[in-house]
Chain length 106, copies 2
């Protein structure tokens, strides 16, 4: 397990994040997400504001790749597995995030 | 075929672009590219400055998904097929792009 350093945490939380998944036919998808939160040294919490295709893709494959960069082109790529929560602790967490107050937090 | 409008062209050419591909095991990858150029109404030319994994992935699957957004979160997603040129007209084109003069244009 690679730990997410404070430097990586900062860049992920302060910039848009590109989140790539694959569909059931092995075709890639990428969407942009905001307000990603580092909630453990190896966990990124992402709110489903508007991610229909990503949500569908995660139902068939949990593999994800995440890329982030700042305005100076410093960037990182993280590879891992994602889990989609329809309820429970993390669902509650994103619903209560101030950043999500004007958006649907599914 | 969906045509790339002037509005989409502008946003693609003026912002970083997230380019998603899949590897031979159907795992997603995303990398960020700059200086994408619209070279036809349905064609985006992207320089391989630093895209090792993407290059490897395109050897096994030509499926790509491209996402782009500006600072105001206006964004687009394009889905299609990619071809990697090691020589020829488009290779020459990217080598001669002024934006690539300080970068490797593979």
């Amino acid at each position: 397990m690679v730990k997410i350093t404070p430097e990586v945490k900062k860049i992920i939380e302060e910039n848009p994040v590109a989140l790539a998944t694959v569909d059931g036919k092995c075709k890639p998808n990428v969407n942009v997400v905001s307000f990603a939160k580092i909630v453990a040294q190896d966990k990124v919490l992402i709110t489903d504001n508007y991610m229909k295709q990503t949500r569908e893709n995660l139902a068939s494959s949990s593999d994800v790749c995440l890329a982030v960069w700042d305005k100076d082109w410093n960037g990182y790529k993280l590879v891992g597995q994602a889990k989609y929560f329809k309820e429970g602790e993390w669902k509650k967490f994103v619903e209560e995030m101030p950043e999500n107050k004007d958006f649907p937090a599914k």
